[in-house]
Symmetry: C2
């Protein structure tokens, strides 16, 4: 239970409030119930040192190969908004990519009214967040409508093309895949090519690739309208300030210079090596307090702003893929780390699950994100006391924060003036840095994702088995799990075969 009195709470709020002045962003950690000694009890120097190494271009991700096939990768997403700090050989490329994007949008993309992004994971979540948070400004329509194919669900693909089918000739397709080998993206691309062929529109003249040097997609897109680079030193989950995020945003008419500037400002702010002045350090310490000290491994993200609805989904990837690890950094210990992230938006979520947050299992801490500006124009009074809709939104944030605090549930609050390219860039950079710091605190590699391979490999085996099953059925073998398992000498795969058969039957394929 909370121990602070009201007066010491106000003192605590003032003592602990951390601001990034350039962005008008503040972080309030006063409602996490850590004691006075906690902040000083954690040695943060290793986290700052690790970050310095990363920013200096050391190959901090030892487990993956670089673009030259050499072991070890640099991790350089901070250079994307501050090319001066990048290794010499990368500076010109970073700048040129930004210039190329602007030129492409201003000159080459004029004829397009719609943009279809084909990508998944890190190649979709960032662009989706940016599109929803910064697009559709009241009174200022987007320069182009934006659509996404972010899965390999045939019906989901059909739904997107139902919207687009009458204006494919005005649609630009942006295919985003570092390797070009991501099956969902490859499938989305093939389905898109089919839709263009059926409509008699030349796909290559409407297609742009964002991909790695010498990837399969790079080869395939040689005669497309344009190509933009993805680099080995930018991970998918931190790629939103690379061409991955910038090209879609620019096509939508979003100010990408402001997005980059906001991220750069936050980078400056979070490079400060005084913990109490560094919002990313404080955020990482609050995670540490709640998750490691208090054993509350769920992070509930509650932005009180509709535009930030997708921020929790973006953070699920950034945080869970970075921190959800089996081993410590040098693989000498099994650690099974991780923080589970969920949340949608306030005050809507109050009507969904604040019941559990206040009364139920205390396995979480909350993060409120508050945007002070209500709307572009003036507001009407909605009650007899002349309160506005925005006053209620504000009141619900304060009320929920207080109700949670009273039942011993901790929260941090991040406040921004408004959701703008600049502030969103700042929020993204804040969490990127906090994840990096926290990974050092708990000693895991934040920059690889070895656990993803097993599922891909198992899926590949299922598809290979399907090929064999179809061939066997063609050759006259009875489509029955036991018979096929024996015929294919795959007795251990009888259940897999059963499910493959059920799926094929349901789709009239056998």
């Amino acid at each position: 239970m909370p121990t602070q009195t009201i007066h010491s709470l106000w003192q605590r709020y003032n003592d602990l409030l951390c601001t990034c002045d350039a962005l008008h962003l503040s972080l309030d950690i006063s409602r996490i119930n850590f004691d006075d000694a906690f902040l000083d009890s954690i040695d943060f120097a290793p986290a700052f040192a690790a970050m310095e190494q990363l920013e200096a271009g050391v190959k901090v991700n030892a487990d993956e190969l670089d673009d030259h096939g050499e072991p070890g990768r640099m991790v350089g997403h901070y250079w994307l908004r501050n090319p001066d700090q990048a290794p010499d050989e990368l500076v010109a490329m970073i700048r040129e990519t930004i210039d190329d994007i602007k030129t492409f949008v201003a000159e080459d993309a004029k004829a397009f009214t719609d943009v279809l992004i084909v990508g998944i994971g890190g190649s979709a979540l960032g662009p989706q967040l940016v599109a929803d948070a910064l697009g559709n400004l009241p009174g200022r329509p987007d320069q182009r409508r934006i659509h996404f194919l972010d899965n390999t669900d045939p019906d989901g693909i059909d739904r997107v093309f139902c919207k687009l089918k009458d204006h494919l000739d005005q649609t630009l397709v942006v295919v985003i895949s570092k390797s070009g080998g991501t099956p969902e993206t490859r499938n989305g691309m093939r389905e898109t090519q089919k839709a263009f062929d059926d409509a008699g529109v030349d796909f290559a003249k409407h297609a742009v690739a964002v991909t790695g040097v010498d990837s399969a997609l790079h080869q395939e897109s040689q005669n497309w309208r344009a190509q933009f680079p993805m680099c080995d030193w930018v991970g998918g989950r931190t790629s939103v300030t690379s061409a991955v995020g910038l090209l879609p945003a620019a096509l939508q008419g979003i100010d990408i210079d402001a997005l980059l500037a906001g991220a750069a400002e936050m980078d400056v702010c979070t490079r400060q090596q005084t913990v109490k002045k560094n919002p990313a350090a404080l955020l990482a310490l609050m995670w540490y307090h709640e998750v490691k000290v208090k054993r509350r491994p769920n992070m509930v993200i509650l932005p009180y702003k509709d535009r930030l609805l997708l921020f929790s989904r973006y953070l699920q990837q950034l945080i869970m893929e970075s921190l959800g690890k089996e081993f410590n950094t040098d693989k000498t210990e099994t650690v099974h780390e991780g923080i589970s992230v969920y949340g949608n938006k306030g005050s809507t979520d109050q009507h969904a699950y604040v019941q559990q947050l206040r009364d139920g299992v205390h396995d979480f801490f909350a993060t409120f994100i508050v945007a002070q500006k209500d709307r572009a124009g003036d507001s009407i009074a909605v009650d007899k006391n002349d309160a506005t809709s925005g006053d209620y939104l504000h009141g619900f944030w304060q009320g929920t924060r207080q109700a949670l605090y009273e039942s011993g549930r901790g929260s941090v609050t991040i406040t921004i003036d408004d959701v703008t390219p600049r502030s969103l860039g700042g929020l993204i950079a804040l969490y990127e840095r906090a994840v990096g710091f926290y990974a050092t605190l708990i000693d895991v590699n934040a920059y690889h994702q070895p656990g993803v391979e097993a599922g891909k490999k198992a899926a590949g085996a299922v598809l290979a088995l399907q090929t064999d099953i179809l061939a066997a059925i063609d050759a006259g073998v009875t489509p029955d799990p036991a018979t096929l398992a024996e015929h294919l000498s795959q007795p251990d795969e009888i259940e897999t075969i059963h499910h493959v058969l059920a799926h094929l039957k349901a789709n009239g394929r056998i």
Copy 2:
């Protein structure tokens, strides 16, 4: 770690598979690693008995008042799709409401091209799920476009009206609030009235209320186009088969008879008192095994179908608000129960956080939802082995299930033929019944939400304080937290005042 061999797994799959034949729905619990004795070790009779009481109209929710102000409420969402089982005095009303909805849509709503739903929580999540899961069928456009105001965010409201502003004269507004006192909904309604006034369109002729007898909204909507009832015996989180869900669905052109029939079929299936034949009982037992026996209180919902993206958000409310409780049923013990629900869709989420699921903290169990039918039309081959996009989706489900199983992570899989009104009705009813059963197993009241009040009350205090602050400033008091706290004799509210002032300033109000 898993203990079964492949062969016993296949045997286990066949032994345990539970089907609801009428719906072609199956539940596979074989990949939850419970031992042979577990199912029989839990006495399920009390859960069946409690459900019988509930369906017989006993006032199982003792903590709330009924429509007559008497203590105790019946809980009757099952009657909505099977009026014959309702108490005599309700039968005609349930039938008439369904008929009234159909008549209204067929006759009175003809002129409308767009529908704006104003509601929050239980009055939005169900309609949103139904709209997204069942609307926008390729080749069959919705009868009316559907939009939602589900929050009190002014900018969010403006975004919706940007889309609607040119055809408000063809827009039907459906305001959904049991009490009429939900501020977010009241605010959305006021903002909507303003937009109609500004456009010179008569709001009352375009407005429909779904509300409780004698509510404030019922009074206000006397001269509106229509009124539909909400009953005290239907909780918000189980209201989707009442007028709350049926009216929006019918307006969109969705077959509500099929939705109701699917729910009714599942109700029949989950009334069976043989645990192994009852998918809701088995589901509740799996939750019990994972959450209570194994202490893994996170439920990850992974539908491998874009149309079911919102199902996890719907379940967040249904499950977390029902189960996240401080006390046991008779309030003799503090229990702090709950299950945290999150997830979006597969295979997309594999690229976001399956890394953590496979390698990281083992505090969850997964629920896969698989729809066998890929799409309405035929599929192209997307690779050299003639596999389709749907084959990949299927392969990723099997691969992820297998990869999780190999690292000791359990999952259940629910399989349906396709996402249809009928199967969605079945899924909704399955989870409603599972929540009820589980609540009995852990001895909590699934039908109240006492923890929500504290936040509302605190928010009300903030708004009342704002009124006093504005009055004081009008009277010449310096707009400074310390001065105002003293002036208003509210020394304990200095931080609240600080935040109110910051919000007012940011919006040019002081």
